[in-house]
Symmetry: C2
Subunit: 101 residues, 2 copies
C-alpha cells in the first residue's frame, strides 16, 4: 500500500438528472474532452446510479477557477441548470492525503 502526503485539488460534482435530459450525453462527452486539455488537469472519475458522482482533479485552485470560467463550459453550466439536473452540488476540496492498493 502506498501512503502519500499530497497537494492538489478535487472537485466533487454530485447530481440527480431530470427524467429526459436531452443533449446531456453529447455535452458531457464534449466537456470531458475539453477538461482533459486544460492546464493543471490531473484526472477525472465518474459513476452514476440514482446519484451521479464525478470527481475531477487539478493542480491548483487557479486551474479550477479557469476551468469554471471557460466559455464552452459556461454554456453547459447554463443548460445544466435549466434542463438536465434536478439538483446538483459542487464541492471544491484540497486533497491532503491519499493511499491506494
Amino acid at each position: 500500500m502506498k501512503h502519500s502526503t499530497v497537494n492538489y485539488y478535487a472537485v466533487i460534482f454530485t447530481s440527480e438528472l431530470n427524467d429526459n435530459p436531452e443533449g446531456y450525453t453529447e455535452m458531457v462527452n464534449k466537456i470531458e474532452a475539453l477538461a482533459k486539455q486544460q492546464k493543471g488537469f490531473l484526472g477525472m472519475e465518474s459513476a452514476r446510479e440514482k446519484t451521479g458522482i464525478t470527481v475531477s482533479y487539478r493542480e491548483t485552485l487557479e486551474d479550477i477557477k479557469n476551468w469554471k470560467a471557460q466559455s464552452e463550459h459556461l454554456i453547459a453550466q447554463q443548460l445544466a441548470k435549466e434542463k438536465w439536473y434536478k439538483k446538483y452540488t459542487v464541492r471544491v476540496c484540497k486533497v491532503e492525503r491519499e493511499y491506494s492498493k
Copy 2:
C-alpha cells in the same frame, strides 16, 4: 444557487471490484450503517459503474481517523484488500467551498 465557504472533510473512495466479490454487499451495508452512527458523520454518497465512487463527509480529521481505526471497519479493510477490490484509492480532502442547485 447557494454559495458557501465551508469547513469539513470528504473522504473520496474510488475502486474497481474483482469479478466475484463474495460477501461484499452485506459488508458494505453493515459498514455504512455503522458509519452513520459515528460522531462527526455528515453524509455519504455512492455510485458504481466500472469504477465505484463513495464520498463520505465528516466534521473533522479526527472523526476520519477514529472511523478508520474502528474495529469492525478494520475487519472490512482487511477483507477488502484480500478479496473484493482489484484496486482502490482513498483520498482525504478538506472541503473548502461548495455551491448547489
